[in-house]
Symmetry: C2
Subunit: 240 residues, 2 copies
């Protein structure tokens, strides 16, 4: 590292607030995953944390307000701030990926591609993979299509398991009750393991916050933290 900071280095743009705890955790993990010995070695980043973005699952499944105008406002703000790429630490928001990519010249790092690279890094390069996510993410088949095109076979929780375990676990994290979220989320992961999953992708950025708040090693299979996966993807973008 040179001692003179480069003012022209672009910022990483982080379109966040969905939820705000997940995007704060993304910033924390981005920092901790960066090889650094002083402030000046870290990545310049701008986090646009707008928790007012309408609920993505409600928009997709029950006619709720369209989040796209709010997402585009954030992208405009990140462009104006001098960002060179955009990371979005919310899986469900990737259902509007094409609409966002159509209006910006900046690359948007795709969280499902980041998760796939993390699966490969964990040595899981084919076979049955469990995917947990919001009902919106699973209904849009965000993971299923992209992972199946890479040769994986995806399984997801049954509707009754979504209703009893995954959706309540996500809601608990969104209301700051992280420790309470562990039990239902870990149970859903165990069920996917029992159905033959070789790994489980935590395909909603609230899920790792809940699962990692408890004794997650006991679940006994590789878990892909999509917050970390996206942070590693951002570091690769920055050449770190």
């Amino acid at each position: 590292m040179s001692d003179t900071p480069n003012p022209d280095l672009p910022f990483l743009g982080v379109l966040g607030g969905m939820g705000p705890l997940a995007s704060a955790q993304f910033m924390l993990r981005l920092t901790l995953l960066t090889p650094a010995t002083r402030d000046q070695d870290h990545l310049p980043a701008v986090l646009w944390s707008d928790p007012r973005v309408p609920d993505r699952t409600a928009a997709r499944l029950s006619g709720g307000e369209d989040p796209l105008p709010w997402l585009l406002r954030g992208i405009g703000g990140l462009e104006a701030a001098g960002c060179g790429a955009i990371a979005i630490p919310c899986n469900t928001a990737h259902g509007w990926y094409d609409g966002m990519a159509a209006v910006t010249r900046l690359p948007i790092l795709h969280i499902v591609d980041a998760a796939a690279e993390e699966l490969a890094r964990l040595g899981v390069s084919r076979g049955r993979i469990g995917v947990m996510g919001t009902a919106g993410t699973l209904a849009m088949r965000l993971y299923q299509e992209r992972l199946e095109s890479r040769g994986y076979d995806c399984i997801v929780p049954e509707p009754a398991e979504m209703e009893a375990l995954v959706s309540p676990g996500i809601a608990l994290v969104k209301s700051n009750r992280v420790a309470d979220a562990y039990a239902p989320l870990a149970e859903a992961a165990r069920i996917l393991k029992a159905r033959g999953a070789a790994a489980v992708v935590l395909g909603c950025t609230e899920i790792p916050l809940g699962i990692l708040a408890g004794p997650h090693a006991e679940i006994g299979l590789p878990l892909v933290d999509t917050i970390d996966a996206l942070a590693l993807s951002a570091l690769r973008w920055a050449g770190r």
Copy 2:
């Protein structure tokens, strides 16, 4: 809370990256300290995390590059993003408070005032207070002047303790070695307690990250986490 988000609500502007771990932790604590049951209840915020800002202590004590132009660039970015107030989760940067306040119409929440409000909330309203911080913060007497005007008597670590304990502890946090930072920082706090401090203000945002990574209750006196204090001040600004 109404179900219709208000697009005109101003963002909280966070001028961060000094260090990046402290400002990420600020975003995390801001979220966890907000009474909320869903994303939409949280504060919209923009974090401008620019770790390239030249070292504040080096600028003040050894003729290093002036950080003010970098700080003003961040304030301009936060103004352009639509922020209504600015919080700076770096104590030493408050040495340039007047220079920043002179160029912006936005209120800048002062971290020392936030710490004083936290001391009062903890029931410590007068008497001897220990202050830990960077050598730059202590040399600028940022805490001493503002706390003494409120009737406190401030004591700080001796130069040899700064060199052996506090400065190395801060540097360990900045290089992501949070757990290793506990022992020297806790020892410095214990020394201040032995000299009669009724509470210790952790007046550098790296210090709570190190102290809270270990068994801090054993130190046996109230510790003011300036990250939390500033987050609570921001929530008061937002009327939460």
